[in-house]
């Protein structure tokens, strides 16, 4: 752990510590930030400094752990490069501060990995045209800022099939952080997958209003199980609490972000997993070669199952041979580039959103603002 990592892992509290303990050193360092355009662009190939920012801890069995695994692959592929890491970076001006600090420390490539890091990254990118920003999951780009993401809703369809076949009550539950296009797409894919094998399957959705608040996750999971939900899926950054609460109450779980089969020896079915390493290595190499601006990585780059960025997690004890057969067949179909959003698709109100025979393209899908028929629960605030 470098100094950056240390100070950032105390990030949330540091503002308070500043106020309380007068950490003068930090205050001075932050105060003389300005727009110091570091003269680091002349670094030799392979000797770049690369910065990674995570919104949570690197070992959360979830989103951040998956991104962190990517940074490990980058480290391995570029042994001479210096990799800076900062955990628990909030999606606020604090993220700008951390990025500025990394740039002062010589970073020429930055990986802000949380959805809400995009705004701060755009601001810092404008001030540092010589630094390349590769943002995970963003819906906007700039001259020196590209975004990339995986179409993980593809595998969520297969995971939904596993859930639809395994349920006895025909009630599935989904514990979601916030209603954004990414999460709505995953819920829709999951429910459509479940319906494809079990037309009676319904998915109840609960929003926790936080990417990682285990207290709310526990209560949300318990609430769903009280409603006779017997398979739990989630879209949270830290994933352990939902899986373990489900296991403890004797219901099944599917996963998202990372393989959690070890946490639910009895109830684990399968899940969607990220494999960021190879893509991140390719992107760093492109930037090194000076080919970033002409590459697809400078835009809104999206990859799916065929690229290997998205995988199906290993099957668990609850996945019967019939479930494995069905889900593996779907997974094989996804590997050919099939998109599981063929029309007709109707939203909860019955309105036709995708006409029969039409499959929306990736960018149309990313503007999804509705839940499909069969999902129980409303999108809060009409977001």
């Amino acid at each position: 752990m470098g100094a950056t990592s240390m100070s950032a892992s105390l990030g949330k509290s540091s503002r308070w510590l500043l106020a309380l303990a007068c950490m003068t050193a930090c205050a001075v360092a932050a105060g003389c930030g300005g727009s110091s355009n570091s003269a680091t662009s002349s670094k030799a190939k392979g000797h770049e400094t690369i910065g990674f920012l995570y919104v949570g801890p690197h070992n959360d069995y979830g989103y951040n752990q998956a991104a962190y695994q990517g940074s490990l692959a980058v480290k391995k592929a570029f042994p001479a490069a210096k990799v800076l890491e900062a955990e628990n970076v909030p999606e606020t001006a604090e993220a700008e501060r951390v990025m500025e600090k990394m740039i002062r420390d010589g970073a020429t490539i930055l990986f802000p990995t949380s959805f809400g890091h995009l705004g701060p990254a755009m601001n810092v990118a404008r001030r540092h045209p010589n630094v390349t920003f590769l943002h995970m999951g963003g819906l906007k780009n700039g001259p020196n800022l590209g975004t990339y993401f995986g179409t993980i809703y593809d595998t969520q369809y297969a995971v939904g099939q596993a859930a639809g076949m395994a349920t006895k009550s025909d009630k599935l539950g989904y514990v979601v952080a916030f209603p954004i296009a990414q999460t709505l797409l995953n819920i829709n894919a999951f429910e459509r997958g479940a319906q494809s094998v079990n037309p009676k399957a319904k998915t109840s959705v609960v929003f926790t209003g936080s990417w990682c608040d285990p207290g709310k996750q526990a209560e949300a999971t318990n609430s769903l199980i009280d409603q006779r939900v017997d398979v739990l899926e989630q879209h949270q950054d830290c994933t352990k609490t939902v899986v373990q609460t489900a296991e403890r109450r004797g219901v099944l779980s599917t996963g998202y972000h990372a393989d959690a089969s070890g946490l639910a020896p009895k109830g684990w079915l399968t899940g969607s997993e990220w494999n960021w390493g190879p893509l991140m290595v390719r992107m760093v190499r492109t930037v090194e070669d000076g080919k970033f601006k002409a590459s697809p990585y400078a835009g809104l780059y999206r990859v799916g199952v065929p690229s290997g960025v998205i995988k199906l997690a290993p099957y668990g004890a609850a996945a019967t041979p019939a479930i494995r057969k069905q889900v593996t067949a779907t997974y094989d179909r996804l590997k050919t580039g099939w998109v599981p959003f063929e029309g007709p698709i109707r939203d909860q109100s019955g309105k036709l959103r995708v006409r029969a025979g039409v499959t929306p393209n990736r960018h149309q899908l990313e503007s999804t603002d509705y839940l499909v028929q069969g999902v129980v629960g409303k999108i809060p605030g009409g977001a």
Binding site: L10, Y61, K378
Partner: protein, 303 residues
Amino acid sequence: MLVEDVLAGTVRSGTSVLFAAEGELISERAGVINLGTEGCMLTGALAAFAVTNATHSALLGVVAAVGAGALLASVHAFVVITCRANQLASGLAVSFLGLGLTSWLGAHYVSRSIHPLNRADIPALSDIPFVGPVLFQHDVLTYVGLALGPLIWLFLYRTRTGLILRATGENGAVAFAYGHSPTLVRYLAVMVGGALAAVGGAQLVLAYTLNWVENVTVGRGFVAVALVIFAGWEPLKATLGAFVFGGALALQLQLQARGVSISPFLLNMAPYVLTLAILVVASRGRAQRPPEEIRAVFGTTGA
């Protein structure tokens, strides 16, 4: 059905706050406000999780939490009782010390797992319709929590030690004149308060979230401090307040699970607003008189 589920959820999510509130109440009744309660909860949560992870014994985890919470609270006690520093400033500092320390020391425990504190249904009672699922199908610490308010009420109003504690909180000089050391009483009260808050943190991670993450309490300790004030320093009202808070938390999630739409932002706010509203209503008409020594803290904040 909804009522039963919400009430069961109320007890599940309110218990950790209940421990912290009752602990803070003991401390304040002796004349010391401890805003470090949040830090004590976090310290207890991490200590309980780490020790349970290492020993596979939740009991040892709780014992470790008691020790860690009392230890952190003793820092506050030393600063405000022995050094006579400002209670509010010291309490805040202790809270952020707890947050920083546990974030740092706990980083490696985020990916670890424990054998959680399991549900221990009480025979016969847990089979009673409605009442059983709400009150008697929980973990051991929850049962202790349910008994805590009445026990502390008995302690404060029906025992000699409780009388000395209250006397110290009202007027240290008088307690001293009767041969009791206000310093000793306050040290003990603050440390018991910190230990109880830590047990709240332990209950949260051992029986509820089953996991440790940085700042896992998300402000429950500060809610507990507010509850004590709004409960008028009465242990039974503090229990009520903790469950109102837990109930609001459970209600919005139970409603969502039933398909009712609520904004996640409103949802984050609801427990705090509802708790404040109900306690303000509950305490209307009665004079809310803080212990005299606590009043002095607010009166002379420059001390």
